[in-house]
């Protein structure tokens, strides 16, 4: 009998395979449940936000495409005007033309074009009239993670006298650090901004590491919840791939708890 056909090996092989399948299927089922919960969560959040602003959904039958397009435009402009009332810089994301604009008081300060956009299917599972109206309210950033510091602060200790003084050297402005970042919006919507065409192989590897770390973190959190007999969390997402310079400008300019406007159709 060959070494590989020994009974204990066979048993281990089959048991492992069965366990892998069982765990994978169970996790997937829980993710499906999480997905359904996420739909309710986003719908509830949008309903609450609309209630807070005393906005109502004002149509009943499914409109034709012209009217639907006008309703979407109306919601987008309403969101832009609401965000423009605040002093801070905000982000306006327009999925149909893949544009990401940094705006200050309604003035476009910087516009970037995403090279790739991937939108979570959760958005198409939200009740359309609620989604259209819900997007008329800006979202707020609750958390951010990135591969570059938000504020590139350098600490300098003042010299005690002129003998200790050394004039500043020319700052290093080469863009060596890879730029990838994630903004999390209330209610648990994730916006991934990844540098497209990483210029060096190390950038590509760093992007993979950053992405894998985020995914691993999500899985760890899911298992923590499962261990407490709770369902995992599904976070709707939009993934962008964009030019490194644009990504850096956006990440540095957007305030920690800034506003984000989404136009999905």
């Amino acid at each position: 009998m060959s070494l590989f056909m020994r009974k204990p090996i066979k048993i281990t092989l089959y048991t492992t395979a069965i366990l892998v399948v069982i765990v994978a299927v169970t996790y997937t089922i829980l993710k499906v449940v999480a997905f359904q919960k996420a739909i309710n969560n986003v719908e509830q959040y949008m309903t609450n936000e609309l209630d807070k602003r005393k906005k109502t959904i004002e149509w009943v039958a499914e409109p034709d495409s012209n009217i639907k397009s006008l309703l979407i435009q109306k919601a987008y402009y309403q969101a832009l005007l609401t965000a423009s009332k605040s002093d801070s810089i905000f982000l306006a994301i327009n999925i149909p033309d893949s544009s990401i604009s940094l705006m200050i008081k309604g003035v476009v300060a910087h516009r970037a074009k995403a090279e790739q956009v991937k939108v979570s299917p959760l958005f198409s599972a939200i009740n359309p009239p609620l989604l259209i109206q819900g997007l008329s309210v800006p979202f707020t950033i609750s958390k951010h993670t990135s591969t570059i510091p938000k504020v590139p602060l350098m600490v300098k200790i003042a010299p005690r006298d002129t003998s200790e003084y050394t004039p500043d050297v020319i700052p290093d402005t080469t863009d060596l650090d890879p730029v990838n970042f994630i903004l999390e919006l209330k209610p648990n919507i994730l916006l991934y901004f990844y540098e497209s065409n990483p210029s060096q192989s190390s950038d590509g590897f760093n992007q993979f590491k950053f992405d894998l770390r985020e995914r691993t973190w999500t899985v760890v959190q899911d298992f923590k919840r499962i261990s407490k007999l709770k369902t995992p969390v599904y976070k709707p997402y939009i993934r962008f791939r964009l030019n490194k310079k644009d990504a850096k400008v956006i990440y540095r300019a957007v305030p920690e708890h800034g506003q984000v406007i989404l136009r999905l159709e």
């Binding site: 090996i9 004002e58 499914e62 002093d87 801070s88 009740n127 350098m154 600490v155 691993t216 899985v219």
Partner: protein, 238 residues
Amino acid sequence: MNTTENNIDFNSEINPKIKRFGYAILLINIILSGFIILYFYFTYFSQPVAELVVQNRKWTIALDSVQNDKVDLKKLSKEVATLAQQFQNLTPSQPYIVVNTTYNRFRLYKNRKQVREGFCSTGSYTLLKSHDKRQWIFHTPKGMYKVLGKVTNPVWRRPDWSYVEEGLPIPSANDPSRWEAGVLGDYALSIGDGYLIHGTIYKRFLGMPVTHGCIRMNDDDLEAVYKTLELESKVYIY
């Protein structure tokens, strides 16, 4: 034991210790492979698989929504046009300037059209700590500002940090040695809180974040900005 050439039992010739070790390694590899497969399934594939069950939601109305039988297309078009106009009006028709502090560039606008762009220098994001526990952060503030003052041949009043930074004793507030002419260029535009748009003698640093918070420009750009922007003109910094 059968040792004929055509029927060799290799197992019988393996040392039992090595055999057990081989089994153990194989078992570990099988279990480890299972974990690796699961890990990559969880991180990369479980979500897309879960998403496969999604179906596009049909248009349904919440019970508490306002019940309208029809959307008035004319009214809706008018509303959208009004909102679009309101939004467009947020962009000033007067001249304004937009400053990018990440890459130290500026764009000057007149009649809502870009008329000039170029390099500038903005805050270095240095946190200067003095030995008497005082500290300053040299950054250019972001947001919308207005031109609050315009002067020609500005004279710089050296603040405390400029002495602390060089290890010099700080003179009294009104000491005449604080005033320096010629270092800010020919023009300066104040945007509030002591921040200025001004010229520089350190032109080789334009395009770099080296200032103490002010926006520095070369002579030609500064002149154009000074002549284009008026009092109350908007300055957008991001």
